[in-house]
Symmetry: C2
């Protein structure tokens, strides 16, 4: 049976849906719609916008949880914390049982290239992976709340089917990015080596005090047809397997045991 | 000349010192003391405790900078942002010229194993690496403000000498951890595969509303004599080369081009 015609729905499958734009973002509703095709959905997400929080966790403040009716069909639990907090707390306390799958997104804005390390969306999925669940982050490169998310939804659907068909090795997270609009194709991709060239904009406030806004443009430092940023520029959606072993193994193996 | 007797001081060398515990932490003063043995020091750090912020950056709020006399010998600039913000803003706006070296720490608390991905201390150093500067994160495994940091200082000193003697390949950050007390030895180490086993503690506030505190213990999922967490448990300081290419290359190369 092809994956297009196979019925993947399983009422016993529990899917945790999180994001970093907050529980009332259109993106999380779009992702929850996709999740519902595969099983029961539990939405646990920050109670407010948490973009660019990276893999922050809340250790010095208590976490509170509020139940919400997100729309007529969806309920959710909002946490006054980060995306990683939501997954940790969901896993430990807020779900009747352990989830089978963690989905994070759909983020409004790309999480490709160097953006991965700043991304709260990806950190929620990475946290799912650390806790032992197959986990997928999904982002749409368009920042606007009115972005057309059908392509990102299709890409998410394909990524979930892939995981259900093949499983996912321990320690690997799938990071999906899609342009706005319909899906042109979903390509396996590598994280492009890239950085932001920052230009902080200095301003003076009405009280004559200076402040700075971060601005910047993304610069690709890498070449190749299989890089996430390049494929996205060509209109494709991308799926990048990522991992959190940060050791630079080649460098490590050339060092002696002790540094004096 | 051995590295112990060589004079490494260069008045033209500019060193950016950052941390995540905030500009008034004892750890940043201890690291700045070491930095001064190597050149001119510019301290740019968060204006308050920022532990476990991960690689967060501030995009929706303006950043403000305040100059401080930290003690009779040290001045610094405090930023109302994250460690990564401090390094970005320092590099772009707050230093008379570009730094030659970025040091982050000394953090009060270990940044070994899975802690690396939650660490603001490490993220400041990683940000330095992304911006093209040789960068070192330094942490002491003792949480207390009164921790004896001489061992961490010695380890930091050795790491800086290593970088000045050998350089550091583009994209690699050095992550140093040391127990409290004098240095037993500094060993090259790999990041141990590990995770937190969380037990959120639920409480009821005086207004009869529930809240949760994160608690947990670190679990090592890996075996080996060269792992950071294991060497630290044996009383050694560790130095781990880390990198931010998160692609799971072995998994990637086994996939076809397109996911349908």
């Amino acid at each position: 049976m092809s994956s297009m015609s196979k019925n993947y729905y399983d009422p016993d499958r529990l899917i945790l849906v999180c994001n970093d734009d907050g529980i009332f973002s259109p993106g999380i509703r779009a992702l929850a719609e996709v999740a519902k095709e595969f099983g029961e959905v539990s939405i646990i997400a920050p109670d407010r916008q948490q973009s660019a929080v990276g893999h922050a966790i809340t250790v010095s403040d208590p976490l509170r949880v509020t139940s919400f009716q997100i729309n007529s069909k969806m309920k959710g639990q909002a946490v006054n914390g980060t995306p990683a907090d939501c997954v940790k707390l969901g896993h430990d306390k807020l779900m009747g049982r352990k989830p089978d799958l963690v989905l994070s997104g759909i983020n409004h804005g790309s999480n490709a290239g160097i953006n991965i390390i700043y991304s709260g969306t990806v950190s929620a999925a990475t946290e799912g992976t650390i806790l032992g669940y197959p986990s997928i982050a999904v982002s749409c490169t368009e920042f606007t709340e009115s972005a057309e998310l059908t392509g990102a939804q299709d890409a998410a659907r394909r990524a979930v089917r892939f995981v259900l068909d093949h499983g996912l090795p321990s320690g690997i997270t799938l990071n999906v990015n899609a342009p706005g609009g319909p899906l042109k194709g979903l390509r396996w991709a590598k994280q492009a080596n890239s950085r932001y060239v920052e230009e902080f904009e200095g301003r003076i406030d009405p009280h004559n005090k200076p402040y700075f806004w971060i601005t910047g443009r993304l610069e690709i430092l890498d070449q190749g047809e299989d890089l996430d940023l390049n494929l996205l520029n060509q209109g494709y959606a991308t799926i990048t397997p990522i991992q959190y072993d940060l050791t630079a193994h080649n460098f490590f193996k050339n060092q002696s045991k002790e540094l004096t």
